[in-house]
Symmetry: C2
Subunit: 233 residues, 2 copies
DNA sequence: GGCCGGATTTGATTCAAATCAAATAGTCCG
DNA sequence: CGGACTATTTGATTTGAATCAAATCCGGCC
């Protein structure tokens, strides 16, 4: 673990309530692994072995059924994931894969479980973390059930843009294929959705997308969209 | 609170780790409210005032966008809900409504927040609870993204049936309209989905549904469906 | 620079599910 | 018991998004 990782770790929800000495003890049980793009961290159906915390790089969680696969969520630096599988000692519901090269803090499952049980501050941090995740997932379910493809894309882009008023350029968390999965549509449909938004001032190449007038997009999306989409943060 | 509620409370994940004396102190801060069918417990967008724990009756969580509304999840006796909004002190993402008359344990938000921070056992219980919810929601997202309407209904019915091998009759957690919302389809489509499953030995009237041969249904659903749907329990 | 292979866009067509529209079955009251 | 709802089923039609099928763009690499 590098010293430059510490600020990141201390800022994460999971550790936010843990004091300095406890934190050191916890980290002593962990190790860091550097992984190449598309490395698999864990596979759906397997027993939970490690809690993973992203130090750098980007990770995608995928659900699969038969030969189909859909991205469920993106994770980036500072995120801890698969906490639920680890604390419940249950098989993973999802497959986690590196979307690019990155470094992952690995915390053996048994050690983590014991620590959560023993350390109230860590448990409280986990409550905060999981609460944020709950809200993210609820937002996604509402999107899937209530919005059309174009509306979902609008909401997704707006969630990426800090509540700007002027023109913004946002960076998609992955390629078009992955974003399509996250939105629950095919890449072709995503492409069409982008095309449909072009007249509203959305232009983009690769993973950079520029929103000329967020207010206008917000108005368009808001006409039918949800109150307070509230992304995890 | 009635003495008959205690076994239920002690069995719930939230309190599973809390000792007797602490539990008594916690419950002292709460009160019980009896509510009629379709009473609203909390409304999307409002600030979190109470943690709710279902003592009896059935509750539905609804997400709304514009004038559309979709049921996101059912809750029954022993479930605690909107923990995330309460601990994060954030506005509700969902509206909770009684689906039938029932009794709800109300725990003032500030008191609960303080208690979670102070009592490791409660925080740990909350971690278990939220972990279960995470898995439920992930299951639902995978269903929405990867399965057709008929497959989703099959999976839903199978999740209701304890892993029986012989014929079972399961009770739907709500009327057809609500189940349709939970599955992310219209009531008409649900009706057609039931019709499509009839040849596979699914018969039903009202909220009772009989599965003649769970194994056959499981095979049908499993052909394309997910490994380990893993409902909350 | 020029070639290869995957990613993205675009077009045509199909299909699952929504919507529109009744008909029918249940339920709750008076 | 009958009437008035409301819920559910069924049928016809429309439609949003998937699928099929190319064309084009792009990045990496020799």
């Amino acid at each position: 673990m590098r010293t430059t990782d510490m600020p990141l770790i201390r800022r994460s929800r999971l550790f936010s309530q843990v004091g300095e000495p406890d934190l050191a003890a916890m980290l002593a049980a962990c190790f860091v692994q550097t992984l190449p793009a598309s490395a698999t961290l864990c596979r759906q159906g397997e027993k939970a072995e490690f809690l993973h915390i992203v130090l750098s790089g980007r990770v995608g969680l995928f659900g699969s059924a038969g030969h189909e696969e859909a991205l469920v969520e993106f994770f980036g630096a500072g995120d801890a994931f698969i906490v639920p599988a680890v604390v419940l000692d249950a098989p993973y519901l999802l497959t986690a894969r590196m979307l690019e090269e990155g470094r992952i803090l690995m915390w053996p499952a048994a050690a983590f479980r014991a620590q959560v049980r023993a350390t109230g501050a860590l448990a409280y941090g986990a409550v905060l973390l999981l609460s944020g995740y709950w809200r993210t997932l609820i937002g996604q379910i509402k999107d899937l059930k209530l919005l059309s493809a174009i509306e979902r894309l609008s909401a997704f882009l707006l969630a990426l843009a800090p509540r700007e008023t002027g023109p913004v350029t946002v960076t998609l968390p992955g390629g078009r294929r992955l974003v399509a999965g996250r939105l629950g549509i095919t890449p072709q449909s995503l492409s069409r959705a982008f095309a449909a938004l072009r007249p509203l001032g959305i232009s983009g190449g690769g993973r950079q997308v520029t929103i000329v007038d967020p207010a206008r997009l917000r108005e368009f999306a808001g006409a039918r969209a949800l109150k307070g989409p509230e992304r995890r943060d």
